[in-house]
Structures are given as structure tokens and as C-alpha cells.
């Protein structure tokens, strides 16, 4: 019949050497035939041919009831065969094994040294076409199999063009893999981590429409934190969503950037709709805050326009005012009543007009009572990102174990090394920097000694700085995600002065939550984020610090002995790491917020700078003995005309100019401190006497330096330090210095210019 092929030889069949299927019906007639290239299972008039390289056999004689059993496993079938006698079984078994072995060697795939083996290897490289499997029907598999199941590296090609290339396990896609699906519109590519035949964990899908999703999956669905790019830039319905997903739907906190409409939503989602607290900003400077119900701003909300009109009241959609409310005009005049209509197209108002009694002069977005209260609190934003890292490091386990967290770190770093090795071929220089960074992370500072000294703190700080810079370290991974979401939120339409407050709150919240992660790795760090004093190792106090119950008790201990100490806090540890990475968008917000004031200040500074050193010093009221121009003053009067410019206090001016290139508040404060030191040095070098500063003398000189330093966004700089400076510094010398800078800014801006 159909099985007759010239090269095929029948080696054995169940007619001559009985082999039965247990539990087979009375009327079915099973015949098992072994050919030199396959095992045939004939049943009545139909038969199945199993190529021998995908046949695995196993003897099961130990079971009490079923003696002499041979289990035959093929990718899609399992046959349980029973021989009459143990001898028969052994016979079959031997023949099957040797034939399978022969087959495998014909294919020349197995290694030579295995020829001596009696049993064929469990793992084989095979080519197999599925016929029945629901998921893999008509797919051809080329790759490794273990006992009838796809296992290890392999490739699946479906007859309809779908392909999967990657890792398998337990007969399903498992591990890293790439799945390509041709559709009418083009290719859909799913790449990432697979488990149980579906995307699970981090992955990307490039849809045929051009949409891209990058983020986490669960059971093949978008789940957890992810970014969805819809449409091409500038095309129809181009949008970017970044945030939380549940079962392919936007759900949780997320930011949606609608590029075409010029609108950005930052708030809660449910079932793919904006639902809950949220903020909308538009390209034309409008700001909305309120509650969303199925995609629509509904009920009480707040609207602020870029000309400082403010509406607090009921909405039926963004820009659609409907219901009771109060509109405050830029002049301060108020209209209270019932509103109906669209802000852009005309409003019907039934209400009362109140003339404001005082003139509001303001160039800045003003604060409003409801501002920031109807939106999502910063601590509730981006939880998935932190949850993911914490879960990775074992935070959710009942017993937090730093050793376990470090094990995870080690695994991650090893994975990173593998990636780098692959990268080496493409860009050796990049690989080199990455691998040296990985190497330096191999030495872990002592993390669980129960004691924190200045020395060990610095080691930890050093390590963390590197770890947060390395994309393979969980910490680096975390900060990359944070930078991504921050940029997604506050770049483009998000560069909106009214979002500054939200951005600052978010940064403070990041630091708080990042610190939890850091403490998982370094339990020696104090448990609360506030300022804590630490001392050198040799200090007697080091022993006395209980890290777990660390509290304000240590703050301001008896310092009469004047031991060297350092004050540390979550912010002082993490700002210098985080802020440089998000500095441009953050500073843009500050610059936008302070734009008008800075413009005004800049005008003044430019005007003041037209004067020569001497004129400016006289103008600012600096006492003559601090002019430091004795030689010049003694010179001929005629020479005074070509008065020196930009010479006095040049080193201090130069120092202060570095303010803009310092990224964290503490670094900026250090720049200010350095400026004061330069001033003092300059004066001391010149006057030589034991001069002691008082504010009366110092202030004008500092103002001179500030004017000469010509800092373009001085107001923004001041505002930023003000927002992010740690409160424990405020009363200290740095706080005083900063206050003096602030006062200079105020003075430059507000002092009447005399001519």
C-alpha cells in the first residue's frame, strides 16, 4: 500500500512480534510496524507514520499492573504499547533504540562519539511538521527537541508565513524569541520574553500599522508599564501613551500625548478610557484639572488659560463649560453663575459680575486654591515601575533579604555581560565602556554591617553612582524608566509652566521611592529619608547609631566635642544622581515659569553691564576700599575714561557662572559658596589687613558679582534651588548664601534704576 517506498524496509511488526495497545476497543485493529525510517501505527484503514528521529521511547515495566510497557513519545502523540512477554518487550525495545540511533546518524546531526550509546539521546536536533497541534498546526519546526517537546533554540515556520525564532521550553515558546506575523498591511513583529507560548515580561510589538508597543506583557497581553506609539509622527491620530496597562487596555496612571490635537492628558485610566483624576494641557497654553468619566472631563474642575483667566466650576468635556462656576478674569474681576458653552466658541452666562477691588499685577501663573488638588498625587504615579524593581529584588517577599537582592543583581550583571559580548562585534568602543562599568560593579561595598560611617557611606555612594549609570543593573534600569516617563510627561506639550509644580512633586516622590530600592540593597542606610548625621569610622559615635531606629535623635547630638560629621539624607544621596539625567526638561519648566521675570531681570543686567567696573561699583554702593583699584585711582585722571571693565572680582564672577552647569541643588549651593570664598580671597589678598565681613559691605560686592556673571535664567536658577534644597540646609551658612543670591535677584529686578 501507500507505505511502499523502494528504500524502505520493514524491520518488525506487531503481527509477528505481538505488541498491543491497552484499552483499545474490540473492533479496532491496531498494527505497529517499524520500518528503517519510521514507526507506523495503523488503525483499521488509517495509519500514522512517525519519522524515527522524532520518536522517543521509554520502558515502563516497573508499574505493577501494566507489565512490559513501552511508551512511545512523538511530538504530537503518545503511544503506550504492551508486549506479551518481557522478552518480547526487550526485543522491541532494542530494535527501536538501534533503529532510532541509526536514523539519527544517517542525518549526521548527532555527534560521532554518541554512536556507541545504546539509547538514543534525549535532546535532538530535528525537523518536524505539526499536523494536529492547535497552536502549531501546519508549522514546521527546525530545532532542538527534548523527549518529543520543543526545547532550546529553534525555529517555527507556519504555512501562512508566520515565523518564530527563539527559545522553546516544554514544547512551547519560552525565553527570548521573535515572532513575525504577516498581515495584509505588513509585518507584525513580537519580540521579547516568552513563557508558556505567550509574551510574558518585557517585550516589544511592532504592529503592521506602524504602531509600536514597548513594555511589559502578561499572557500575551499588554500588562504593566509600557509605552505605546500610535501612528507615525505628524500623521493621523499620532499619539504616544506611556503608563500602566491591564489586559491590553490602558488602566492605571498614564500620560497620553495626542500630537495631532496638541493635547496631553496626565491622569488615571480605566478600560482604555481617561477615568478618574487627571490634568490636560494643550498646545495653546490651556490647563485643565478635574475628574474624568469615560474620556470626558465631568463635574467640578479647574481651567487656567495662558492669560491667567481661571474657571472653577462644572465641565462637560475639556473647554466645555456647563453648570455652576466662577470665572476669574486676568484683571481680577469675577463672574459667578451658570455657564453653558465652549471657551473657544462663546459662552452663555447667567450670573453675577464682581469688579475686583484691588489690581492684580502679575506676570506669572498665579496659584489657585484648587490647583494641584484635582490631579493624581505624585506618589500614585508610575507605581508599576517601582513595583517591578522592588519585586525583582525580592521586596515583596515576607522576609526582606539583602543577600537575595544582591543575587538578583549578580544575575542581571551576568546577563549584561552576555549582551555586551554580542555588542562587541558591532561597536567595540561602546562595549568596552559598558564592560568596564560592569566590572567596577563587581565589587560590592559592605552593605549589611549594621553600622554606617562616613567611609562606608562614601563607598556606597560611589557604587550607587555607577550602578544607576549601568543599564543592566536593576538600579540603572529603574532610573532609565524614570527618566523615560519624566521626559514623556514634561517634554513637548508637557513643557508647560503650569506643570512645574507637578514635575517637582514627582521628582520628590521619585527620590522617596528610589530610596526604598536603595535601602533594599544597602540596609545600612538610615531607614527614613530625613537628615541624619554620620561620623567617621574611628568615632565613638559610629557604634551608637542604630540604623533601624535612626531618627532625629541623632540629628544634633552633643556636638560639643566638634567631631567631623556629615549630614546625609535620601535627597542628598539621590539628587546628584537623578537630576543630571532629567535636568534639561526640568530646567525648561523653571525657565518657562520664570520667563517674564527673567526677561525683566536680564534687561536690567544688560543695562547695568554697560557700565565700567568703577561706575558700576559706585552705582551699587560698594565702599571705595573694596574697589581694589588703588593703582588705577592713583593714576592720571584722564586715564579714568578708559575705565577697566570686567576686571574686578573676575575669579568670583567666573565661579558664579558655573551655576548653570551644576545640576543638583547642593552642587549649585557649592558654586555660590565658592563664589563667596573667591570674593573673600580677592579682598584679603588686596587689603591684607584682618578684614571681617559684615553684610553691609558684602552685599553690594556680591551684587556686583551677580550682575557681572550675567546669568541668563537667574530667576529660574533661584526658583529651582528654592524648591529642591534640603530643608536642613536652610538655616545654615549655605542657606544664608543662597538667601543672599535670592536677595540680589530681587534687588536687581526691583530697584529703581537711577540715572
Amino acid at each position: 500500500d501507500a507505505l511502499k517506498i523502494p528504500s524502505r524496509r520493514l524491520l518488525r511488526d506487531s503481527k509477528n512480534n505481538p505488541l498491543n495497545l491497552p484499552n483499545s476497543g474490540r473492533f479496532t485493529n491496531h498494527i505497529i510496524m517499524l520500518f528503517n525510517d519510521g514507526l507506523v501505527h495503523a488503525q483499521n484503514s488509517t495509519f500514522t507514520h512517525h519519522p524515527l528521529n522524532t520518536v522517543w521511547i521509554e520502558s515502563h515495566s516497573s508499574e505493577a499492573e501494566q507489565q512490559n510497557v513501552i511508551v512511545v513519545t512523538t511530538p504530537e502523540d503518545t503511544l503506550t504499547l504492551v508486549a506479551n512477554t518481557p522478552e518480547d518487550k526487550a526485543d522491541w525495545f532494542m530494535t527501536l533504540n538501534s533503529t532510532i540511533n541509526k536514523n539519527l546518524h544517517c542525518d549526521k546531526i548527532m555527534r560521532q562519539n554518541s554512536s556507541e550509546r545504546l539509547t538514543p539521546p534525549l535532546i535532538r536536533h530535528v525537523t518536524y511538521t505539526f499536523t494536529k497541534h492547535c497552536q502549531y498546526k501546519d508549522a514546521r519546526y527546525i530545532g532542538f527537541m527534548l523527549n518529543g517537546k520543543m526545547h532550546g533554540q529553534g525555529e517555527l515556520v507556519w504555512s501562512d508565513g508566520r515565523t518564530y525564532y527563539g527559545k522553546f521550553g516544554q514544547g512551547l515558546q519560552q525565553g527570548h524569541g521573535k515572532y513575525t506575523i504577516p498581515t495584509e498591511d505588513g509585518l507584525e513583529i513580537q519580540e521579547g520574553n516568552w513563557k508558556d507560548g505567550m509574551l510574558n515580561g518585557y517585550g516589544t510589538i511592532k504592529y503592521a500599522t506602524g504602531d509600536i508597543y514597548k513594555g511589559y506583557f502578561r499572557n500575551g497581553m499588554r500588562y504593566g508599564h509600557g509605552i505605546y506609539n500610535e501612528g507615525q509622527h505628524m500623521s493621523h491620530s499620532a499619539s504616544i501613551f506611556i503608563g500602566e496597562w491591564v489586559e491590553d487596555k490602558r488602566h492605571g496612571y498614564g500620560v497620553q500625548d495626542d500630537i495631532l490635537k496638541g493635547e496631553k492628558y496626565m491622569g488615571m485610566w480605566q478600560d482604555d478610557y481617561c477615568n478618574g483624576k487627571g490634568v490636560v494641557v494643550t498646545l495653546d497654553g490651556m490647563y485643565f484639572e478635574g475628574n474624568f468619566v469615560y474620556g470626558k472631563l465631568t463635574g467640578f474642575g479647574l481651567m487656567l488659560t495662558d492669560d491667567n483667566s481661571c474657571y472653577e466650576g462644572e465641565f462637560q468635556g475639556v473647554t466645555q463649560l456647563q453648570g455652576k462656576g466662577c470665572l476669574t478674569l486676568p484683571s481680577g474681576d469675577k463672574i459667578q453663575g451658570v455657564f453653558n458653552g465652549s471657551w473657544n466658541e462663546g459662552l452663555k452666562i447667567n450670573g453675577m459680575f464682581n469688579k475686583s477691588d484691588h489690581v492684580l499685577a502679575g506676570s506669572k501663573p498665579k496659584s489657585h486654591i484648587m490647583y494641584g488638588k484635582l490631579s493624581v498625587p505624585a506618589d500614585k504615579k508610575w507605581n508599576e515601575i517601582f513595583k517591578h524593581t522592588l519585586a525583582l529584588l525580592g521586596y515583596l517577599d515576607s522576609k526582606k533579604n539583602p543577600n537575595k537582592a544582591w543575587e538578583v543583581v549578580a544575575v542581571r550583571l551576568t546577563q549584561g555581560q552576555k549582551v555586551i559580548k554580542e555588542l562587541e562585534r558591532r561597536s567595540p568602543s561602546k562595549a568596552r565602556t559598558l564592560s568596564s562599568s560592569l566590572e567596577s560593579l563587581q565589587t560590592i561595598p559592605p552593605y549589611n554591617t549594621g553600622v554606617l560611617s562616613i567611609e562606608s557611606y562614601h563607598k556606597i555612594l560611589q557604587y550607587l553612582t555607577k550602578a544607576f549609570d549601568n543599564p543592566y543593573h536593576p538600579a540603572g534600569n529603574l532610573i532609565d524608566s524614570i527618566v523615560d516617563v519624566f521626559r514623556a510627561a514634561y517634554i513637548g506639550i508637557g513643557a508647560h509652566p503650569r506643570l512645574l509644580h507637578h514635575a517637582v512633586q514627582e521628582i520628590k516622590s521619585y527620590v522617596k521611592r528610589m530610596y526604598v530600592v536603595v535601602r533594599l540593597l544597602f540596609p545600612d542606610l538610615p531607614s527614613h529619608t530625613g537628615p541624619v548625621h554620620i561620623y567617621p569610622e574611628s568615632s565613638s559615635k559610629t557604634k551608637g547609631i542604630p540604623t533601624s531606629t535612626e531618627s532625629a535623635e541623632n540629628f544634633l547630638r552633643n556636638d560639643s566635642e566638634e567631631e567631623p560629621y556629615e549630614v546625609i539624607s535620601a535627597a542628598s544621596l539621590l539628587y546628584p544622581i537623578l537630576l543630571p539625567k532629567i535636568y534639561p526638561p526640568l530646567f525648561d519648566l523653571y525657565a518657562l515659569y520664570n520667563d517674564k521675570d527673567d526677561e525683566q531681570c536680564w534687561e536690567r543686567v544688560t543695562k547695568l553691564n554697560r557700565q565700567g567696573d568703577m561706575a558700576l561699583m559706585a552705582y551699587l554702593g560698594i565702599e571705595e576700599r573694596f574697589w581694589l583699584m588703588k593703582e588705577i585711582l592713583l593714576q592720571d585722571k584722564s586715564q579714568k575714561l578708559s575705565a577697566p571693565r570686567d576686571q574686578c572680582y573676575a575669579s568670583a564672577v567666573e565661579t558664579l557662572q558655573q551655576l548653570s552647569t551644576a545640576f543638583s541643588p547642593i552642587e549649585k549651593l557649592k558654586v555660590i559658596e565658592k563664589t563667596f570664598e573667591e570674593i573673600t580671597e580677592t579682598v584679603q589678598a588686596s587689603l591684607k589687613d584682618d578684614h571681617v565681613w559684615c553684610m553691609d559691605d558684602l552685599f553690594p560686592i556680591f551684587q556686583f558679582v551677580v550682575v557681572r556673571a550675567k546669568i541668563r535664567h537667574l530667576g529660574a536658577e533661584v526658583h529651582m534651588i528654592d524648591d529642591l534644597m534640603e530643608s536642613h540646609l536652610e538655616f545654615g551658612e549655605l542657606g544664608m548664601m543662597f538667601t543672599t543670591l535670592k536677595a540680589c535677584y530681587f534687588q536687581i529686578q526691583n530697584e529703581k534704576l537711577r540715572h
Binding site: K364, F555, D597, W693, H719, M736
Partner: protein
Amino acid sequence: MAGQSVGGRNYNFKCVLLGEGCVGKTSLVLRYVENKFNDKHITTLQASFLNKKLNIGGKRVNISIWDTAGQERFHALGPIYYRDSNGAILVYDITDEDSFQKVKNWVKELRRMLGQDVCLCIVGNKVDLEKDRHVTVAEAEEYAASVGARHFHTSAKLNRGIEELFLDLSKNMITKADDNTSKKSSSLGSGAGSRRSVIVVDDEQPTQKSGGCC
């Protein structure tokens, strides 16, 4: 929450020094400091910023003394400096009636901006020049009492009355801080116990004319 009592037993106070240019406020603090500290403890800002640690009845107190520029043209900068202060030392020259008027202006402004939470100390300096006195003792002490401030006579030159001044001020600030803490705990939740208990958003960005920031 920058200052005030931390943990109930340690105090961190900020104290501004206000007064006209030539009343000798700098010499006042310098005298105070020179007696107590050796040179290396003088800060970068020298007499403009001084830190003093005291132990009063087992309570540890750290006072930061902020000098201000006394020139009239810098008057508007006051709020930037005295913001969040626990105490203010207002210095006048007993030989200069005008400087006493200035002090009165400062007191009015401080009471308006900071309310009753700030401890005020009015100081008549230069008592070594008693013969040139233009501000009578009675007038000054009466005024001080009327605004709820303490009054002291000092001489930076003779080092008189200075130690007492700072000791008394510190005790006052401790009492006030303790009051606030207990008030805060009794009216827990209202958050109005102390002006520093909440970060008030419109706590004025002094750099802005409009006053409000987000």
C-alpha cells in the same frame, strides 16, 4: 520644618539681625563670637553669618545668626532674610533717634509678616556713650513692652549686656517652640499650629512681585 525643635530636646533656631547701617550690629555679634570661638570657627561669611551652640538647662540649642545689609536701599530685602526666623534682634544706637524709628518700622513689619511666633529683642547699643543718649531708657522699654518685645542695653565696645541678650533670646525661643509643639499636638490635624507646620504654597516666593507661586 527647617528649624525649630527637632525631637523635642534639640533646637535649631534662625535669628536675624536688623538695624541701620552704623548702629554696630556687626560688632555686637562679633563680640559675642570672639569671646566664645577661636578663629577657625569663623565662617566664610565671617560676621555676616554666625553659628552658636548653647546648652541651656540640658537643652541643646543651635542659633544661626543672620546679618542683614542695613542700608536704606536694601530695606525691601528684609522679608527674604527674615522668612522663617524664630527670632529677630533689632539694634539701634542710643545716640541716634533715627535708628530707633527704624527699629519701630521693623517691628511693625515683622509682626505683620511673622505674627506672634517670632521672638523680638530690641537692643540699644553703644551704652558707653551714655552722655550722648538721645533715646530715653523709659521710652525704649515702654515701647518694647507694648509690642511684646524684650529690651536690652549693650555695649559692644565694653562687652556689656551681650551674653545676657543672647541667653534671654534663646530661652524665649525655646519657650515659644515648646508652646507651638504642644499647640500643634493638641490641635492635631488642623495643621494651623505653627506657620511652619505645613509648607504653605503661597508662603511667598519673595523674588516675585505677585507673591504666589504654584
